[in-house]
């Protein structure tokens, strides 16, 4: 058992996979010499050399193009887009090229690559550096979408993503970087699998589905609720595509109430997808409305008070569940 920050888990996970497979390479702005804008790739250049850890110009389309072309010819690139917001400047590469290449070539092109990005709010960075855009990726067929909430999941899911034969968008939550976690030493590589949600807290009364930073807030809310006699089950979805609907539907079948907690702005977030699946497939299990707890449909303001006003908090989660009882 070791203590590891989520931040250090990123470098550890990448190092594990680079050790494991010489085809694994890392590419992005400042990932090498600077160790990453969030210091999540410190030490990798020194350890694996500039052939495998490559700094780039500010040109996100070129970065993802390089990753895509490399993947289809035999490398297994991990490409970093510094912030989730910047997915917008290379969205064509993500949504039109990487996502569709296998399909539109009838399976000829394989794209085993990972796009890592620092997602979400919490740093008081303002509207251009604080978005949660995992729903953008979920909305595009052909992308797998993963978002770990703990250090162990960072390593295990990153390994699974790197070893996956399909393109995976890997959302690291920037507010999780400084968090410390216990990571069990099982003597060997840590490798998880994609598409398995985790019940991080079993409960009987209501189901709360969350992702990334929101998992921690949902768990905290569940603690508050427990004190009041409401037994909440908290599910860390971990992977949006593939989605573990089995765990989700089983939980709703048990609790008959669903709450989703997401950082996505209100409209068309992943919470809407989860809600819709349940509203169609588990309607008869439900004992009341499905309630989404989201960032409202506004940009994320820079000031503490503005950011805190819009991101779901443990209090808001608890209060929402409480009111719905």
């Amino acid at each position: 058992m070791a203590q590891l920050t989520y931040r250090d888990a990123v470098a550890a996970g990448i190092a594990q996979e680079m050790d494991n497979d010489p085809r694994v390479v890392l590419v992005g702005e400042e990932v090498g010499g600077a160790g990453g804008a969030f210091k999540a790739t410190v030490g990798l250049l020194e350890r694996f050399g500039p052939e495998r850890v490559r700094d780039t110009p500010i040109s996100e389309q070129a970065i993802l193009g390089a990753a895509m072309g490399a993947a289809m010819t035999g490398l297994r690139p991990i490409a970093e887009i510094m912030l989730g917001d910047f997915m917008a400047v290379c969205w064509d590469m993500v949504a039109n090229e990487i996502a569709k290449a296998r399909y539109m070539t009838a399976g000829q092109l394989a794209l085993p690559l990972v796009i890592r990005t620092a997602n979400g709010a919490g740093y008081r960075f303002g509207p251009h550096h604080s978005q949660s855009v995992e729903n953008w990726a979920m909305s595009v067929p052909g992308l797998k979408v993963v978002a770990p909430s703990t250090a162990e999941d960072v390593i295990g899911l990153l390994a699974a993503a790197v070893r996956d034969p399909d393109p995976v968008v890997f959302f690291e939550h920037k507010s999780c970087y400084p968090m410390e976690f216990d990571v069990a030493d099982r003597g060997g590589d840590i490798v998880d699998r994609l598409g398995a949600a985790k019940v991080v807290r079993p409960g009987a009364d209501v189901t709360i589905a969350a992702l990334g930073l929101m998992v921690h807030r949902a768990s905290e809310a569940a603690d508050h609720l427990a004190a009041e006699g409401i037994d909440a089950e908290v599910i860390d979805l971990r992977s949006l595509v593939p989605l573990d609907t089995e765990t989700l539907l089983a939980s709703v079948a048990k609790t008959s109430r669903l709450f989703t907690v997401e950082e996505n702005p209100r409209l068309c977030g992943w919470g809407a997808e989860i809600t819709s699946i349940v509203a169609e497939e588990a309607f008869w299990d439900l004992a009341g409305p499905i309630v989404r707890i989201t960032t409202p449909h506004v940009p994320v303001g820079a000031a503490d008070s503005l950011e805190d006003a819009v991101l779901p908090t443990a209090e808001r989660i608890a209060e929402t569940v409480r009111r719905a009882q």
Binding site: M68, T73, E97, R102, T245
Partner: protein, 351 residues
């Protein structure tokens, strides 16, 4: 300058006279015959495709490159079998240039199940990984960046393979072009960027939308590259420039940007009669049709007219057979709409 003047400021670009001296280039006759064959195959293939279009068998759209064959042929002949091609929606010729059989290509134009990509992509997404044709891309610009990735693999493994990206003049104005060129130079990648300057971005004269006279060559120095303009209607000139650039890339000397001046005889796509082009311009370029020009050169070099006829006849027969193969092909099984999203063959997004 008032905006209104801009709309007239671009006189038609007329071709330079044939450079007869290119007959003296040190190119093996076998290569030259291959260049001839490739061009004829491309031309006859596309003529058949156009027939099928007139018969209403091509749904969606097709983008012919009749008139531009020398570029794809010159590169096809110069590339190593394990080199990689990245092309656009206008990629019939580039696909054939790598040795992909005509039948599946034609079938893909008709979006049949026996098509190159099983009717999933259609004419804009021709791909044959077995032949190094690593995709045809229909959003302008992106594939220049993707080509760099393949070049990266070659550099990483030291295989001396080269990635070649073909694109049009209009593509030089989009951001991805700039990112790809700078990136390739900085990483010293074995990527060859080939701009087929056919003088038009869609329905618009390229000069009207471009800050420099030569859309690619005029930008080369911005990426630390030599400006290279070649006669894109002369297969020998293309072959020679291609061999040079490929050689430099293999030798670790980095990327090249080549601007090949050429012309499409028809419109931008099947919906376009091309009427925005001055008649004198079209006629001047028709006189410079790469195929008759090359035919004459081979005759001057002593090749027998009969031998050329055999090549042409074989190409015609292959194109006819391809057309038949396409027409006979079945429509894709609707169930295949759900396959090939993932490596496991399926499209499920849930466990």
């Amino acid at each position: 300058m008032a905006p209104s003047e801009e709309y007239d400021r671009h006189p038609p670009v007329l071709p330079a006279p044939v450079d007869r001296s290119n007959a003296d280039l040190p190119i093996d006759l076998a290569v030259r015959l291959r260049l001839y064959r490739l061009q004829q195959e491309m031309r006859l293939f596309e003529e058949r495709a156009y027939d099928l279009f007139l018969r209403g068998l091509v749904k969606g759209t097709i983008h012919l490159s009749i008139g531009q064959e020398a570029v794809a042929a010159g590169f096809g002949a110069a590339m190593r079998p394990d080199d990689w091609t990245f092309a656009t929606y206008r990629s019939h010729a580039h696909t054939l240039a790598r040795g992909v059989p005509m039948g599946p290509v034609m079938a893909e134009l008709l979006k049949r199940a026996n098509g190159l990509v099983a009717g999933k992509g259609g004419s804009m997404h021709l791909t044959s990984v077995d032949h190094g044709v690593m995709g045809s891309y229909a959003v302008v610009g992106a594939h220049l960046c993707v080509a760099n990735g393949a070049a990266w693999t070659a550099q990483y493994h030291g295989t001396e393979q080269v990635a070649v990206a073909f694109f049009g003049d209009g593509t030089t104005n989009i951001g991805a072009f700039h990112e790809a060129l700078n990136f390739a130079k900085v990483w010293n990648l074995p990527t060859v960027f080939v701009c087929e300057n056919n003088l038009y971005m869609g329905y618009t004269s390229i000069g009207q939308v471009t800050a420099v006279a030569d859309p690619a060559a005029g930008r080369a120095e911005a990426y630390g590259l030599d400006p290279i303009i070649i006669d894109g209607n002369d297969a020998d000139a293309v072959y020679t420039a291609a061999a040079d650039a490929l050689g430099r890339a293999r030798a670790g000397e980095g990327p090249s940007l080549i601007e090949a001046l050429t012309y499409r005889h028809g419109g931008h796509n099947r919906a376009d009669p091309g009427t925005y082009r001055p008649q004198e311009e079209v006629e001047a370029w028709l006189e410079r049709d790469p195929i008759p020009m090359y035919h004459q050169r081979l005759l001057r070099l002593g090749v027998d007219e009969g031998d050329l006829s055999v090549i042409t006849a074989k190409a015609a027969a292959a194109a006819d057979a391809a057309a038949q193969e396409a027409v006979d092909g079945p429509d894709p099984d609707p169930a295949s709409a759900h396959t090939d999203v993932w490596a496991d063959g399926g499209s499920s997004w849930r466990n």
